[in-house]
Symmetry: C2
Subunit: 499 residues, 2 copies
């Protein structure tokens, strides 16, 4: 990309080595989870940390900061140029404010804490992991103070993951969302809804190669261009973007519950599409990613849940499933639909259905807020967790691995990340509602496998902009909305109570 | 690794980011040839050149050069410390001497020339590629002048690939080798040797998945540890080392001539073993690679030809082949042995057998020497090539794709690289001769699949040292030899005339 303003072009040129380091770091991350021989771990760790340090050196280079500072004073910048300045200024500010000693302490604790967490989860013993969690929380509290905040220390951390997100926003969101979801869940259970009946599907062992073919068939149906995209296998599915023309996802094959594999694939492919449909002029600039984690999650959840778990989509892929999954070779679209949308209040977040999922997030949000607001100590977390699970979902974990130890996030220092999952769900419903008004024959097109109108709509409204706009600005400009939970609640009510 | 001397430790610390950049560049190279989606090419090109520039900046940083200069003045350095200084000093000197404008011109011409060469090879039209080859030769002549040399401009380029290798060395080598090989070839053809009879094997289509299993079976037999090693597929097989604990090879499946796939695998695995058996204390230092290209090639050729194409090895793997290759399910070990060792004077170097291979290299060496000695112009190459093919091998290419256009090296600026292939062959024979004297039951162990004694011998004599010693020093210290062709000639005579 070339800009009108010479300072902006200098910034873009100086950014190329930083982009390249990120490119390499992304590839190393992808490779670590997919193909790297196991004993390469230590060497990869050295390379990863060294490349991060090189990146930081370039970002905090005086001349580069000087360029960004001059650009901040320029007038009449285009949206695009403003976006570049905004994104880089945010990154510089965060990196400058956090002293090296804290960054290093966090890096170290991330490795140690993560190892301790793995061990503790295996043994279902929170006590083993507790001292590490205390240490990490302590580091994060210091980081929050260094970054600074207006009202709540947790705001400093939230903003790291979702630009300008605050406790006030989230209190509003969960205050409105949680009781309404609880209410829907109660109605479903009390009425003996077909969604609550356990399916017989997904109980036998499937042929991994065939389900892999099935996933590829679905991606082909969804028009993914394998010249710019690929899919591999990893324990935890993820999307990694090397650049706008090299976006990769992974999926998982745990062996029986094949919906997990299919919907991991569609979920990650949704993330990938955000990058694949970004305007090519943003390539090798700071704007080539998505606007935020919540916006990214809105894309993955839109495709996974709102499209992927809809009846027309299930009708579309049912023949492919019957072909590749031997024990489902007689399954009707309706049976598959109920299997894919089974609702069950249960312990594990990653396996949760659309209805209960955000209740899991609500608990994590409450805990994080209380910890950073000094209202809850680390040692009190397990009991608080279990109490809230009982209150919100009606099930009480009997061991730590079912409860507080299930997620990796905290051990990696990711405090403030969980809420973006719920925001993503809310935004996916906003998108779906707006889209249905704009696109005639929305459902018929899905049933026919014609995804072009949806892709085009998403490209023009969201994808093409990359991170030119901050998430709140994008939502406001495009949809005249914020993180409004009403659309999501209506979507869930219509789908689950109206069936 | 930690040294006695604080300056050496400063050097090692400063080297870590350079090592990390190389690690990332290697991974990007591996990925480019194996899994990268096709349209990621341009972005990968940006990242690759930016990371190279970052590496050059770090290497030529004044403080770093200052450290290496101080280290050069230190006395009582260990072999290891001397090795570090030698390797870094060589790299710095080369990079400093070549002006940026030449490096950039070469980079650019490498891409353009390579594209032109591909096109020209397809159309078998040297004229299309000639202007690019002229340009590259011109750039390389300038580079040779900048690097400097004592006797012959070509020496400057040879030294880039093989430390201290000169035209004098190679004139001695080929002067002794070429006529003796021609003589052996003549005897084989004239006597109607069974090695010269075309085999029926390798003419039908094989099942790629089964030959892939076969390759993995062979690697298992050869005790490759998949925790530090892996094998993938690419058009042209190669070995890439991310670090001492992450070494990767690729192989190829062209579909019919299955020996190509097997011996590519064993060849690359031989390269890999050099790195896998390097002393772990050299990890993340400038010494973790092999001593030189020729030494590396000696390892790949030792395993591919001297072990892999020997009768005991063929007897060992024959049952695996009969199991996986349907049209060879009745083949005896002797039939396989003759198929693997078929001798034929033909046009293409990469498909050449052990006997004729070095004649192909001799021609390339003569041409390169004459070009940089201003005794031959670029436009005269095709005819010279064909004449020499006729004289040395008795076959005259009738089109450029069979002749001058077959190799990619020149289009990528690799002048001085070819001779290391022959040196590798010579050294592999030196190694085999010395090893047989040291190891009792050498052949019986191969037949039994007991490769431990060979691996141990190679580790102690060569592998463990990484690039602590320059190749000539290593050969002299360990074997009291140079690039002596006698061992190779004796090996070929014994194997092919004594059967």
């Amino acid at each position: 990309m070339r800009c009108e303003n010479p300072v902006m072009n200098q910034i873009l040129d100086a950014y190329r080595p930083m982009w390249s380091l990120k490119h390499a770091i992304s590839l190393m991350g992808w490779d670590f989870e997919t193909y790297m021989p196991r004993e390469g771990t230590e060497e990869r760790g050295v390379a990863d940390s060294q490349l991060h340090m090189l990146h930081k050196d370039l970002l905090l280079n005086k001349d580069f900061i000087g360029l960004v500072e001059s650009a901040k004073k320029l007038e009449n910048l285009s949206d695009l140029e403003n976006g570049i300045v905004r994104v880089l200024d945010r990154e510089i500010t965060k990196q400058i404010k956090i002293p090296k000693v804290l960054t290093e302490a966090e890096s170290l604790e991330r490795i140690r804490g993560n190892m301790a967490w793995r061990e503790a989860r295996k043994k279902s013993a929170f006590k083993m992991y507790e001292p590490h969690l205390k240490k990490m929380v302590d580091i994060k509290k210091q980081i929050a103070e260094k970054i600074g905040y207006e009202k709540h220390p947790y705001d400093a951390l939230l903003d790291t993951f979702e630009e300008e997100l605050t406790v006030d926003d989230l209190d509003r969101v969960f205050g409105a969302l949680t009781p309404r979801i609880q209410n829907i869940l109660k109605k479903l259970v009390d009425s003996g809804s077909p969604f609550c009946k356990e399916s017989k599907l997904g109980k036998s062992r499937y042929d991994i190669q065939k389900v892999d073919e099935l996933n590829h068939d679905i991606l082909t149906l969804m028009q993914y261009d394998m010249k710019r995209f690929r899919m591999d296998v990893s324990t935890h599915p993820f999307t990694e973007t090397m650049g706008l023309n090299d976006v990769r996802i992974t999926t998982r094959y745990e062996g029986t519950d094949f919906k997990k594999s299919i919907f991991s694939t569609i979920h990650e492919a949704g993330h990938a599409l955000y990058n694949l449909q970004c305007d090519q002029s943003l390539s090798v600039t700071p704007l080539e990613g998505g606007s935020s984690l919540a916006l990214h999650e809105s894309q993955s959840r839109f495709w996974e849940n709102i499209v992927g778990r809809s009846l027309p989509f299930v009708q579309l892929i049912a023949p492919l499933i019957r072909k590749q999954v031997s024990f489902a070779n007689q399954a009707t679209a309706d049976e598959l639909y109920l299997y894919f949308n089974n609702v069950k209040a249960d312990y594990i977040r990653v396996d949760a259905d659309e209805v209960t999922y955000n209740l899991h997030i609500a608990i994590r949000y409450e805990i994080e807020k209380k910890i950073f607001g000094d209202e809850l100590s680390v040692s009190e977390i397990p009991e608080f967790w279990n109490d809230r699970m009982e209150q919100l979902l009606g099930v009480r974990p009997t061991k730590d691995s079912q409860g507080v130890l299930q997620d990796t996030h905290w051990s990696s220092g990711l405090f403030g990340y969980f809420p973006t999952y719920t925001l993503g769900n809310l935004v996916s419903a906003i998108i779906a509602s707006k889209m249905r008004k704009d696109l005639e024959g929305y459902e018929e097109n899905i049933k026919k496998g014609n995804f072009k109108p949806i892709r085009k709509w998403l490209r023009s409204k969201i994808h093409q902009h990359g991170s030119v706009y901050a998430p709140k600005v994008l939502l406001n400009n495009t949809f005249n909305e914020g993180y409004n939970p009403d659309y999501f609640v209506t979507y869930i009510e219509t789908k689950y109570l109206g069936f």
